[in-house]
Symmetry: C2
């Protein structure tokens, strides 16, 4: 695949931001985002929304960061370092979602700055991560700001009530989600376990674009959604169009799924460490 | 320089842990540690101690994580994923330091598992980060567990009262610090602004080893201490001796200082992104 260009040594790379929770196990969450940022050669900044106690077996503890501290982190970065694109991960609770929506709006996320909203609403292990009130704010306040939203099929079901089982229902889901306000919707098909390929469907309200990849059979797919979203965010920050950025992200996560490894007694993480085996870009 | 070996694709890399605060600007703290872990090819895990609101100009906000949540993160990782080496960064307050000391002791940090204690006690911008009580606990409870402590000259002054101005005072400081209980002491000379070279002095209670590197003139050295400590931690996890691990870390941070870049209106970060331009290890 074509890697992103690297800045000259000593030159400032593009700066991206993740607004996300911490996974102590290092598989998903901001750890996964920062890993992709580092391996893509961009500068990663970070607003921490919550600290989870987590390993490969699940989440056993959870400490949300106060909403004003979440907002202050975003403002501190935007006002000095700048943000070329941002993504959200787990936003923990209604107060945090409201704070992120207010701040995102103020600094221009989704307006002049590409803004990927990953509607994380359940952990990898199925634990619900958002209350109904928080979920409503996520859709009502953040989706209309989003350049792109990137739900998986479990999240699609929660968001639209649609059970995606084939191409037609995947399109129905994309239409329903687009009506909630984002510029683009990416319905990720990776969780459609019956398919041989993994098809992600991108929709902008008029055209559908399909991104197909060979399904990688692995039980070690923790952090796959974060890794895709982080790679798309880097590509958007580089100035790529949304379809090109999604194509880049899909290749990045497919390679990272192929490089996933066991970790602990449960699900291991996808790994962008394949990048360390690449020849450097010219 | 010799890079660390990469695991075969799909094989589990060695797992290291940082116990540290978040820097929203992405220059220092756990962001810096995780960047070095990712670029060194190891799996990074993470116990978040505090969330700072920070950019290139300084720290404007601070939210400590409750001590039981800090301890729970460490235990969740150790009990499932395992830890081959660990490091500490900013530990925020007395309650967190006590929780880290208790947990570190329980899981064998500094005993069967190499444990680097970086006595972070002031921010890059000089703001004090520890109360006197916290400082006492850091020395009284964590130093005796440490495989190696890695103070810079500002921290040496706080810890020993010794103003390092030359080789003799650097040795005096190493002796005074070794008496507080760690197996090894690394007195980092990088802040001795008068020298042409940057000499770090390693001491195990009997022998001194000097690590010299050309001083890199840059105002963009944010995260240098974290980057050195993170690289040493990776090398210790790989089974290197302490002197070999320090030599590796010193080379890693010297290259990262040479690749530092401007960011925002203040101090930019050192950058391990030079790794992305390297030929992959055979």
């Amino acid at each position: 695949m074509d890697l992103l260009p690297l800045p000259a040594p000593g030159a400032t790379p593009i700066c991206v931001m993740t607004i996300a929770g911490s996974d102590s196990g290092g598989a998903a969450g901001l750890q996964s985002d920062l890993r992709t940022f580092a391996l893509a050669g961009v500068h990663g900044t970070c607003a921490v929304t919550a600290v989870t106690v987590q390993n490969s077996l699940g989440v056993t503890g959870f400490h949300p960061v106060p909403p004003p501290t979440v907002a202050a982190q975003i403002r501190a970065v935007a006002s000095d370092i700048g943000v070329s694109a941002a993504k959200t991960g787990m936003l923990a609770d209604a107060g945090i979602i409201a704070a992120v929506a207010d701040t995102a709006s103020d600094i221009g996320l989704g307006q002049r700055i590409p803004f990927l909203v990953d509607p994380v609403s359940a952990s990898h292990h199925g634990e619900p991560l958002l209350t109904p009130e928080a979920f409503e704010l996520l859709v009502g306040r953040l989706f209309p700001l989003a350049t792109i939203v990137t739900p998986n099929l479990d999240e699609v079901r929660l968001l639209t009530g649609i059970d995606v089982v084939d191409d037609a229902t995947q399109r129905d889901a994309a239409r329903a989600l687009h009506a909630t306000g984002p510029r683009w919707v990416l319905v990720k098909g990776g969780h459609l376990r019956t398919a041989v390929t993994s098809t992600d469907l991108l929709y902008d309200g008029s055209d559908f674009v399909e991104f197909e990849a060979q399904r990688i059979e692995t039980q070690h797919d923790h952090g796959a959604g974060d890794t895709l979203g982080a790679a798309v965010t880097c590509a958007l920050a580089e100035g790529m169009s949304v379809p090109d950025a999604v194509a880049f992200g899909k290749e990045w996560v497919t390679r990272s799924l192929a490089a996933a490894y066991p970790l602990g007694a449960g699900h291991g993480p996808v790994s962008a460490s394949w990048r360390l085996r690449e020849q450097p870009p010219a």
